[in-house]
Structure formats: structure tokens, C-alpha cells
């Protein structure tokens, strides 16, 4: 039992640390571990099969489509329109621009489904504005970094699609709907903390906007936000599956960008398609390799061994969930979201099932946990991008991030131990059981 565990994770860890691309690190570690269970030819055969066949999922097709829709959106002035609308919504609070940043991240992240794109697009616009009004750049960057992952919880979300696949088909509609309350709570919580700090530091409130400005900002934001209505409305009402909704999102953003805003032309499309395919295949190759890895873990009984071990540590389910959360937080400090999700979901799934935890609920806990991970050093994509567009350094941004980490950890505990926060909406809207 221990040999496959050490061989698999040992070789994976070494290869990854030496800089071998993660997808291939997973693949090599998996192949080597398969040698314990079958002949060399059979091992090569099964890993090759799983790398392709692991992707045999109509649902997974939603990922390239959502990424493509997001890339089409990113090209135009969508971020600017959403920021203008966010200014109207958050302008009367102390530290108006900080609130604007959070709200814009929630809206932009919801549409693009990318924390990094959101941090870059929204933070890139907000940082100079905040500097001009006397905000400490480290504080501005901290707000941007902590709030950019909200869009991974607020649907649509490629992260939750991957979770659905790796858990053998947890309902995507339920996962999407379950993300709303935790995602919005995350945004609101961050705004409260930012507001308290801003008030203490005397950051300004924006002047009351004229009604015509409010109207103009709302009108500009309606079309981009219409995407959410089409996608989520289509999924919740059952008109579309998630994949069909993602194709509708592509057509909608295409129509918006090509015809309505005229921000791109058909000539730009091949480049956008290629860029989206590259982004997609980075994750897909990792998914294929991870599915192979989950097979070798099943051959070796690894998930059940780890599950037995964790369940044997304590009789208290609350303590076990805390242990899982802490393990994931540690993983999140040095691992990106995708590999962490792909590798640790199959490991922890039998444990949480043993505790009677709902898979949709665990999906939200896992995502929120890894959202914190991408904001923490030493490896954190949101942290890196947020510092770079905010014109500050990781060393400087850590201190202002601390109160936000505290809030996010509190929220994580709340979402972990109060399943209703996640499950209330899917039960109400979808009759999820």
C-alpha cells in the first residue's frame, strides 16, 4: 500500500520541483506506478488510453467554449463598461474605488470565469485611478488580488466543470447555482473589510452620480451582463445543458463584439481561437494525465487508504474536515488551482463521502479553498498578476493582504460547516437533493 503512494507522489513531486511541465510530471509518475501492477506494454497502453479517453466528455467541451467566450469579451472594452457600472454601485461607500474594484471583479469574473484575467483587466484600470486618489498601491493590489477569484465561484465556472468531471458527473447545474451565495458572500465580506480599513485611512467617497450617469452606466453594462442571463437562465430553466449554454455564450459574445461593438473583425478570430485552444489544452492535457493518475490510485487502493487513515484520525467529522481544509490550504500555497483540483479531489472524495458530505457542497469548499491558494505566496497566479498590474511587490502586498486572508479563512470555515450556504439555492431552484 505504501509503495505505490510513495512512488506516485514522490516521483511526481521531484519531477514537478525540477521544472518538468505538470501534465507530464503527472503522466510519468502515473506510468512508473502502473509498472507495479502490470507489464510495461500494458502500462503504456492504459496511460495512453486514459490521456485521450479521460477527455471523452461532452460536458468538458464547455471549457473551451467558455474560455473562447471570455477571450472574445476580454478583447473589447467590456472591463471598462463593467467598472463604470461598479463605480455607480459602490461609489457612496468609504474607499469607493476599492469597492468598485471588488464589484467589477465579481461581474467580470462571473463572465470570464478567470481570476487572472479579471485581476489584470479590472486591476489594470483601477490601480492608476486609486493611486491618483491617494490609495496605498499595496492596499489597492491586495483588494484586487483577494477579490479576483470570486468569479471562480460565481457561475459559469470552468473550475466547477472540471470538478464535476473528476467526481464522475456531479450535477453542473447544481454546482453552478451553489456557487452564487458563497461567491457573493466572498465579495461582500471583502468589501466590508476593505471599507473598515478605508474608513480608518480616510480614503474618499465618490460624489453622488447624476441620474443620467447611473442610467448610462447601467445601459452599457446590460449587454455584457446579458451573457450571464442567457447562460444561467438557460441552464436553470433546463433549456440548455452547460455545454450548449457555453456554445450560446460564444455566439452571443461573437455577435456582441463583431456586430454591436465592432471591436473585433473576423480577421481577429483565428488568433483568438488559437489562443483559446492553447489555454484549453494546457488544462486538458493535465486532465487526461490526472484521470490516468486517478486510475492508478484506484489500482493501488490509494484513495481508500488515505480515507481510512484520515477517518481513523478522529471520530469527529468537524475535525476531519478541518484537517482536509488545512491540507488543501497548504497545497494551495505552492500549487496552481488546476493541478491541485485534479489531484486532490479523487483523494479526498472517499473521505467526504464517508462523512456523508454532499459532493456539490464539497466542490464549493474545495474551490473556495483553492481560491485562497492562488492569492498566497510562494506560488499564486492571482498574487503574481495582481502585484504586477498594481505596480507593487509580493513583499509589500502581504501585510495588507493579512486581514483579507483572515476573512477568507473565516468564510471558508462558514461554508464548510454550514452546508445550507451552498445547497440552499440548488435545492430551491433545481430541486437538488
Amino acid at each position: 500500500m505504501t509503495t505505490p503512494i510513495f512512488l506516485l507522489f514522490g516521483s511526481f513531486g521531484i519531477l514537478m520541483a525540477l521544472g518538468v511541465p505538470i501534465a507530464f510530471s503527472i503522466g510519468i509518475a502515473t506510468t512508473v506506478t502502473f509498472f507495479l501492477f502490470m507489464g510495461v506494454d500494458q502500462s503504456l497502453f492504459i496511460v495512453a488510453q486514459q490521456m485521450a479517453s479521460g477527455l471523452d466528455s461532452f460536458t468538458l467541451l464547455a471549457i473551451p467554449f467558455f474560455i473562447l467566450a471570455g477571450n472574445i469579451m476580454n478583447r473589447g472594452g467590456i472591463a471598462m463598461r463593467l467598472i463604470n457600472f461598479a463605480k455607480v454601485l459602490g461609489g457612496r461607500l468609504p474607499g469607493a474605488l476599492a469597492h468598485c474594484n471588488v464589484i467589477a471583479n465579481m461581474m467580470f469574473g462571473s463572465i470570464s470565469g478567470s481570476a487572472v484575467a479579471s485581476a489584470a483587466a479590472v486591476g489594470g484600470v483601477m490601480a492608476p485611478l486609486q493611486k491618483k486618489e491617494g490609495y496605498d498601491p499595496a492596499f489597492s493590489a491586495a483588494v484586487n488580488i483577494a477579490s479576483c477569484p470570486t468569479g471562480l465561484l460565481i457561475p459559469p465556472s470552468a473550475t466547477l466543470i472540471v470538478y464535476s468531471l473528476i467526481t464522475g458527473g456531479t450535477s453542473i447545474a447544481a454546482l453552478f447555482v451553489a456557487g452564487y451565495v458563497p461567491g457573493i458572500l466572498m465579495g461582500v465580506g471583502l468589501m466590508i473589510v476593505a471599507g473598515i480599513i478605508a474608513k480608518r485611512r480616510g480614503y474618499p467617497v465618490a460624489p453622488r452620480p447624476a441620474l443620467s450617469e447611473v442610467w448610462a452606466a447601467a445601459r452599457d453594462a446590460v449587454l455584457p451582463l446579458g451573457l450571464i442571463v442567457i447562460v444561467m437562465g438557460g441552464i436553470i430553466s433546463g433549456v440548455f445543458t452547460a455545454t450548449e449554454a457555453s456554445a450560446a455564450a460564444v455566439l452571443y459574445t461573437l455577435a456582441l463584439a463583431l456586430i454591436w461593438y465592432r471591436e473585433i473583425t473576423l480577421k481577429d478570430m483565428p488568433r483568438i481561437l488559437i489562443e483559446s485552444a492553447v489555454t484549453t489544452s494546457v488544462v486538458l492535457l493535465m486532465i487526461g494525465a490526472s484521470i490516468a493518475m486517478s486510475r492508478v490510485m484506484a489500482f493501488g487502493g490509494i484513495p481508500f487508504a488515505i480515507s481510512d487513515f484520515l477517518l481513523g484520525l478522529s471520530d469527529n467529522p468537524l475535525a476531519i474536515l478541518l484537517a482536509i481544509n488545512i491540507a488543501l490550504l497548504i497545497v494551495g500555497t505552492f500549487m496552481d488551482m488546476t493541478p491541485a483540483l485534479l489531484i486532490f479531489t479523487p483523494i479526498f472524495m472517499p473521505v467526504v463521502k464517508g462523512l456523508g458530505m454532499d459532493p456539490v457542497h464539497f466542490g464549493i469548499v474545495m474551490t473556495l479553498n483553492l481560491c485562497i491558494g492562488i492569492c498566497t505566496p510562494p506560488v499564486g497566479s492571482a498574487l503574481f498578476v495582481g502585484c504586477s498590474v498594481g505596480g507593487t511587490s509580493i513583499a509589500k502586498v502581504i501585510r495588507p493582504l493579512l486581514p483579507f486572508y483572515a476573512l477568507l479563512f473565516g468564510l471558508l470555515m462558514l461554508v464548510t460547516y454550514v452546508p445550507e450556504i451552498s445547497l440552499f439555492l440548488p435545492r430551491l431552484l433545481l430541486g437538488y437533493q
Partner: protein
């Protein structure tokens, strides 16, 4: 030796329980020389993937069904024909008799052989209305498995076949993406489809059994006595399974009636059987082997 057996049902499924009976019996008959370790919930791969693994000796055993096995061995398509069996009795005589054994042995050239058939009952249509004759299927969107025979059958009955994945079927029925589906009665309770349909019409068009297969490598590595023990264990578990399945199926019907308010209808099958008769000729035309198999099945009753 420990033989790994992969399948995609949960461990409380009747087929899993029956395979466990087979596993226990094999171990008993061979003094623990042959053990079968069952992996539920598709831990080692989907049905198609595990068939490919079995063919290449990367996995010893797998459970699939006659419908999926069509892609690997044509003989199984005879079993999937609608109304090829006149009754449950007929079906049982075929799968436990010489014809069943011939089909199980037919795939040796493809790298595997069948070990056991497990009934999964008869499949029928269910919808928000009774389906009493093919007329009731005119223009109705019926969810099918993405197999040509399922598609062809619904076409011949006048419906619109719609392939939708099993996981999405509940909400598809709920939202009217499809109007009807077809499965055995346990779908009403285990997949909760009884919550989203009102009528289950017992037209019993197909009886598609589960099939347990073993790779040639694993089979050839066994002694003749061990192979015989495997056959005995398979037949014993098939008999036990038949009773367990009927009990589960009856319980599902009772529960669907009592707690989910599903109306259960007995149906005159003759018009259905007549409408799909061309399929028997179409499949028979594919090869002499199939034509012969179909004739033999029909002559058995």
C-alpha cells in the same frame, strides 16, 4: 491469483451483489486460488475503456452490457433486438443455455470471452402520458442510449430518438427537453425518474443483459478445473441474480406507485412488436452468423 473486475454501478446495485456472489463462489471452489476483486463506480474506467483494457491484458475482468458489447462482438446485437424474446422465461432459457454460451465464446478472437449474463429486466417507455401503442410515440422525443439499434427502434416506433447522457436525463425529463425515456422499472426509484414522469407503460421492448467478461490472458492462465469453477460460480450467481433482480424490480414498481404516484400500465405488445420487425431482418442481413443466431433464439421458446 487475484482478478480485477471493473464495473460502473454503485456497490449496492443488484449486479454488484451478484458478482460478489460469483467472486465468493469462485474463491470457495478453488480454495482461494482464484479471487475476484470488484471495483465499483467505474474506478478503473468506463465500460468501453475497460473492454479495451481487457482485450489488451491490462485488466482481467469487466462488466459491460450487451448493448455496449455490440461494438466489440457482433453476436451481442442479436440479444438487443426488440421483442426477440417472447417472455422472461424465453430470455432466461437463452442466456443460460447453449446459445448464451455460444455468444459468450464468440469473442475469443477479439481477446476476451464472456463469463456470465445478468438480467437487467425488460426495458419499457415512461413519460408524462401512457404509451399504449406506437401511435402514442408519434413525434415524441425519446431519450435513447447512443446506439444505432436503440435509435432505429425508436424511429420505427414513430418517435424522435434523442441521445442524452444518463446523468442529464432527470433534468431533461423535468424540463421537457425530452418527453419520454426507456429503461427498466428501477430507473423510477434509483434515478428518481418517477418524480418527473407520471406513467410507466410495460411494453417491455428489450431485455438487455449485463455481461461479465474475462481477458484471454487471464482465462488461459487458469487450469481447466479453475475454468470449470468459474463457469459453475457464474451459473450459480446468475440464478441468484434472477431472483434478486425480480424482487428489486417489483419493489421499485410498488414504491413508484405508492410514493411517487406513477401509473403503471400493462400494454398490448403486438403492435409494438410488429412495428420493429424490420430490425430483425436488418440485423440478420449483416452476417450469416447473426441470421443463424436469431433463428436459433426464436426457435428456442
Amino acid at each position: 491469483t487475484t482478478l480485477k473486475l471493473n464495473h460502473n454501478n454503485p456497490p449496492d446495485h443488484p449486479v454488484h451483489i451478484s458478482m460478489q456472489i460469483m467472486a465468493d463462489r469462485v474463491a470457495e471452489l478453488t480454495n482461494d486460488e482464484i479471487k475476484i476483486q470488484i471495483f465499483p463506480n467505474a474506478q478503473l474506467g468506463t465500460q468501453r475503456e475497460s473492454m479495451e483494457l481487457v482485450q489488451n491484458c491490462a485488466l482481467e475482468m469487466a462488466r459491460s452490457n450487451a448493448s455496449e458489447l455490440e461494438a466489440f462482438e457482433e453476436s451481442y446485437s442479436a440479444l438487443n433486438l426488440p421483442y426477440i424474446f417472447a417472455s422472461e422465461e424465453h430470455f432466461n432459457n437463452v442466456i443460460t443455455g447453449d446459445i448464451g454460451q455460444d455468444i459468450l465464446n464468440a469473442s475469443v478472437d477479439q481477446g476476451f470471452r464472456g463469463v456470465a449474463f445478468y438480467t437487467e429486466g425488460a426495458r419499457s417507455f415512461y413519460a408524462q402520458k401512457p404509451i399504449m401503442s406506437p401511435e402514442d410515440l408519434k413525434g415524441v422525443k425519446v431519450r435513447v442510449q447512443p446506439s444505432p439499434s436503440a435509435i432505429r427502434m425508436v424511429e420505427l416506433l414513430g418517435g424522435n430518438p434523442t441521445p442524452i447522457s444518463w446523468g442529464e436525463l432527470y433534468s431533461a425529463l423535468q424540463q421537457g427537453v425530452v418527453d419520454a425515456a426507456e429503461n427498466n422499472p428501477t430507473a423510477l426509484t434509483t434515478a428518481r425518474h418517477g418524480e418527473v414522469v407520471s406513467d410507466f407503460s410495460l411494453d417491455e421492448h428489450t431485455m438487455i443483459p449485463s455481461v461479465v467478461v474475462i481477458s484471454n490472458c487471464a482465462w488461459d492462465a487458469m487450469t481447466a478445473e479453475q475454468q470449470e469453477a468459474m463457469r459453475t460460480a457464474a451459473l450459480d450467481s446468475m440464478a441468484a441474480h434472477r431472483e434478486a433482480w425480480n424482487a428489486a424490480s417489483d419493489a421499485a414498481i410498488d414504491e413508484a406507485k405508492a410514493t411517487l404516484n406513477v401509473n403503471i400500465h400493462t400494454v398490448d405488445k403486438a403492435p409494438f412488436a410488429e412495428a420493429v420487425l424490420p430490425m430483425h431482418e436488418e440485423v440478420a442481413a449483416k452476417s450469416e452468423h447473426l441470421a443463424d443466431l436469431i433463428d436459433r433464439i426464436k426457435a428456442t421458446q
